[in-house]
């Protein structure tokens, strides 16, 4: 068993180490001093966190409904929820672009409501949400599936209303799965690249995120800087995921 763990983890680490050895001091200094790259870092962090929060906001009620209730068209709803996972990422960007630039409803949102998404920072959040929310929804549903409804029934006989049995029993028990969904959503959002290039572009200091920075730097021949940004992204991701795993695990134990 451990053989496979060692091989897999070893392979990934080897790739990272190869990147690290390719980076030079100048590239690291450029990374730290460039206000555009720091802006891209800030954009990556806040947009991915907002997209994840939005995804979780939908994931809990949608996951619970799909897990507990039977209704006509449930299978179709399930399939639609999984669709963005199967979509090639570029298609998500293209679809959003077509919707907001070519359809009446999209145009009305953009111009009538004044909620502009195309080439705007909020477009990054929308793009990340559409691309990654399915992970949160799917994990949330699985988490609620794993919570035996008898726990909620017992809570009802112990004085809870439906909402109370949900918040006091079902939600804490499903928290682990929901957190896992959140992690997957954040990870996907943080590293999203293709749809962003199509829907919001990569304007320096405006809609640039770290993933697009890597592309921009390598496209102008700054391979060392591109790799420095990539390693920096990996570092952030590893730290964040480790913290979330530890905190999430502790939450599950002490809830």
């Amino acid at each position: 068993m451990f053989f496979f763990v060692v091989v897999f983890v070893g392979f990934i680490l080897t790739l990272i180490v190869a990147d690290v050895f390719y980076i030079n001091k100048q590239a690291v200094l450029t990374l730290i001093r460039s206000r555009y790259i720091l802006h891209a870092l800030w954009m990556s962090v806040w947009t991915s966190l907002v997209a994840t929060a939005l995804a979780l906001l939908f994931a809990v009620p949608v996951g619970y409904s799909l897990s507990r209730f039977r209704f006509p068209g449930r299978a179709v709803v399930n399939a639609i929820i999984d669709l963005p996972i199967i979509f090639p990422p570029l298609v998500v960007g293209l679809t959003l672009l077509v919707f907001f630039s070519q359809t009446a409803l999209g145009k009305w949102i953009e111009t009538g409501l004044g909620l502009e998404f195309i080439f705007q920072p909020r477009g990054i959040v929308l793009c990340q949400f559409v691309s990654a929310a399915s992970f949160a929804l799917r994990s949330s549903k699985s988490a609620f599936d794993d919570v035996d409804s008898r726990y909620e029934n017992v809570a009802l006989t112990l004085g809870c209303r439906r909402w109370g049995s949900f918040t006091r029993v079902c939600l804490p028990l499903a928290a682990g799965g929901i957190i896992t969904g959140g992690i997957l959503t954040w990870a996907r959002s943080f590293g999203l690249f293709g749809p962003l290039m199509i829907f919001v572009g990569s304007f320096r200091g405006r809609t640039e995120v770290l993933a697009t920075t890597v592309f921009l730097e390598q496209s102008v021949g700054n391979l060392e800087v591109a790799l420095a940004v990539a390693v920096f992204m990996m570092l952030i991701a590893v730290v964040a995921l480790t913290v979330i795993h530890v905190v999430g695990g502790r939450t599950r134990l002490t809830a």
Partner: protein, 375 residues
């Protein structure tokens, strides 16, 4: 009094149909039935976890049909207990008290009292995952009892326990019911479990109540073949009953009937049944096709001697036997081979027969132990 009137509930192919049940308070009542008979669904209807399509439920005269579970003053222990795994033993027990927003002192006092009563004081800070089956059971009981319910509903409460724990918990449940003057409805498929806790029971099959009454009545006077089989009566024999040809002049107590395997005696004023080439005296008057229910433990086996003169004494031969630990299960057949019966006898009584395969003996079927099903 717990009253369920005309309860109808359908789920998939299964349905409870016009079910009526009355349980006086306080009482320990067992709802018996095979798996899939609807016991749990009925319990959940009483709880309010399922809403019956029609009918009403009254608890102590109060119509609770439309009330939510939390307003019914019931305690519920589901199968496998459903203890909240994210809470400690204390967290589980105080769950309902916290929902009710009782004062901290009250919560502490009630937890202490119920933990002392169920002997789980040392477990209060333990996690659920580390508890044994019996400890989980007592924690689940504490969680329900701490709410001081008027009605306690237990769904197969001891089915997951080993024999020792099962007996201890059954004893505890029986004591608690008396001590707290509670009404308990206990769902089970196990007859021994029912006898160990209750005096009264109902038997359910495929959504219909088959019989309600004291357990000894279900055992001795089953209402139908299903109840007889469920109560583990192994001798259910089709027969034809007719009026006693000897009229009122003969009496079992007189012991004057000539007995053999073709003609057993009859009691005055009652009927006789013909089956498998023998005639058996019946305890009540009836005619036509019947089914005779004879409990294996009621059949007495005796060494063959002179022609038996007691009513319902048959010459039989030993066919097979098996040691069941507490008793011997013995298969006997009439000498003509047409009628087979199963008897449960003590080891001592069996040894006294000096058993050998095919050996002729006498089987005595006391007339009062014969049940007659006419439907």
């Amino acid at each position: 009094m717990i009253q369920a009137r005309d309860i109808t509930f359908t789920v998939g192919d299964f349905a409870l149909r016009n079910l009526n049940l009355e349980v006086p308070c306080p009482q320990y009542f067992v709802l018996l039935g095979p798996p899939g008979s609807g016991k749990t669904i009925l319990l959940e209807c009483l709880c309010g976890l399922r809403q019956a399509a029609s009918g009403s439920i009254h608890i102590d005269g109060r119509d609770v049909t439309a009330l939510e579970p939390r307003s019914r003053s019931i305690g519920y222990v589901p199968q496998d207990y459903a203890l909240f795994p994210h809470l400690s033993v204390r967290g589980n027990i105080q769950f309902g008290l916290k929902v009710a927003r009782l004062a901290r002192e009250t919560i502490t006092r009630r937890i202490h009292a119920v933990a002392q009563m169920l002997d789980i004081e040392t477990l209060l800070d333990r996690r659920i995952q580390g508890l044994s089956g019996g400890e989980k059971q007592r924690t689940a009981l504490a969680r329900a009892l701490v709410m001081e319910p008027r009605l306690l509903l237990l769904d197969e409460p001891v089915c997951a326990l080993d024999e020792g724990s099962r007996q201890r918990i059954c004893g505890l449940l029986h004591t608690l019911q008396r001590k707290l003057c509670l009404t308990v409805i206990h769902v089970s498929h196990n007859i021994e479990e029912a006898f160990s806790v209750a005096d009264t029971a109902a038997i359910l099959d495929r959504g219909r109540l088959q019989q309600v009454g004291p357990l000894h009545e279900l055992l001795r006077s089953p209402a139908n073949e299903f109840v007889a089989r469920f109560m583990r009566c192994e001798n259910i024999l089709p027969a034809v009953a007719e009026p006693d040809p000897r009229g009122a002049t003969l009496s079992r107590s007189m012991g004057i009937l000539p007995m053999n395997e073709h003609e057993a005696g009859a009691t005055a004023g009652h009927s006789v049944a013909t089956l498998g080439g023998v005639r058996l005296a019946l305890p009540r008057a009836c005619t036509g096709p019947v089914k005779l229910v004879i409990r294996p433990e009621d059949i007495r086996l005796l060494r063959a001697g002179p022609a038996p003169t007691d009513a319902n004494s048959l010459r039989v031969s030993l066919a097979r036997w098996r040691d069941y630990g507490a008793y011997m299960k013995v298969e006997i057949r009439t000498l003509s081979g047409e009628l087979g019966l199963i008897a449960h006898v003590s080891h001592a009584a069996f040894a006294a027969l000096d058993p050998a395969a095919g050996k002729p003996i006498v089987a005595h079927l006391p007339i009062d132990a014969i049940g007659v099903l006419t439907d």
